[in-house]
């Protein structure tokens, strides 16, 4: 088991990306931090960004919505629907960016607890391999340094600055 603080990014299939990270806290706390707007606002977003809107209807079929604001004041909205909720173990939800129709993902978050630490696993299912490659980059984990990831990031966040699976 790796130490806390290391983010693992792997490709599970053509259309999936898996993020794994260990947190030094029980999973009920991690679950709370990922499902309460006032807590989400304190951590979600890259450095310098601010989560200015966080709305969560935590029930199956309930909606969530987030708006991130860049240091330059540019806003990026995303939203989705909760499909499965099993507190504090599992959340399945959809996610789509306002500006990019047709690229909705299905995100499955699993929280495993052992010895007071929580292993967070988020599987992001993209609508196609091409979208996945564009959004995160096929070369990321394999070191091939293909440029899709960078391109995708530029497509999504074009501002030149140092810079998501929503909860």
């Amino acid at each position: 088991m790796r130490n806390t603080g290391t983010l693992e990014v792997t490709m599970k299939s053509d259309r999936e990306i898996v993020l794994k990270r260990i947190f030094d806290a029980p999973r009920r706390m991690v679950f709370e931090a990922m499902t309460k707007p006032e807590l989400l606002k304190r951590w979600m977003g890259p450095r310098g960004w601010e989560l200015v809107v966080s709305e969560i209807e935590l029930r199956v079929g309930g909606k969530w919505r987030s708006v991130l604001r860049s240091p330059e004041g540019k806003e990026m909205g995303m939203s989705g629907v909760y499909r499965e909720i099993e507190a504090p173990v599992r959340i399945v939800s959809t996610e789509a960016y306002d500006d990019y129709p047709g690229t909705e993902t299905v995100n499955t978050i699993l929280l495993d607890e052992a010895n007071g630490k929580t292993t967070f696993t988020c599987t992001i299912l993209y609508p196609s391999k091409e979208v996945r490659d564009l959004v995160v980059g096929s070369g990321m984990e394999h070191g091939a340094a293909e440029c899709y990831d960078r391109l995708a990031e530029f497509l999504l966040h074009p501002e030149p600055r140092s810079m998501e699976c929503g909860a």
């Binding site: 990014v9 706390m29 450095r47 979208v131 960078r150």
Partner: protein
Amino acid sequence: MMTSNQMDATFAALADATRRAILLRLASGEASVNELAKPFRMSQPAVSKHLKVLERAGLISVGQDAQRRPRRIQAARLAEASAWLDRFREFWEGSFWRLDDLLAEMKSSEHAAKRRGHRRKAS
């Protein structure tokens, strides 16, 4: 290799949010002007204008079907044009470091609350 003029055209084409969104849409498969106009709630001429810019920049090409004229993404040019950081990872790493801090704070305030509870019980 792209000439610097081609590079400029590519970057200029990418500098527009609608055109970036169209490219992302085309990444999931080719589409006709009609099919692109719908999700973006734009008129066909407006979409055609963006497509022309993308085509000139070498970012998309027109497929064989003369009737439908489907547009498809040109991966090679995209790859050539890329020179950006891996921000996906950075996004999550930045967020999670802050989450670490928040969790530490939640743990210590719960701990403090428990201790206050014990003290109250003891007195």
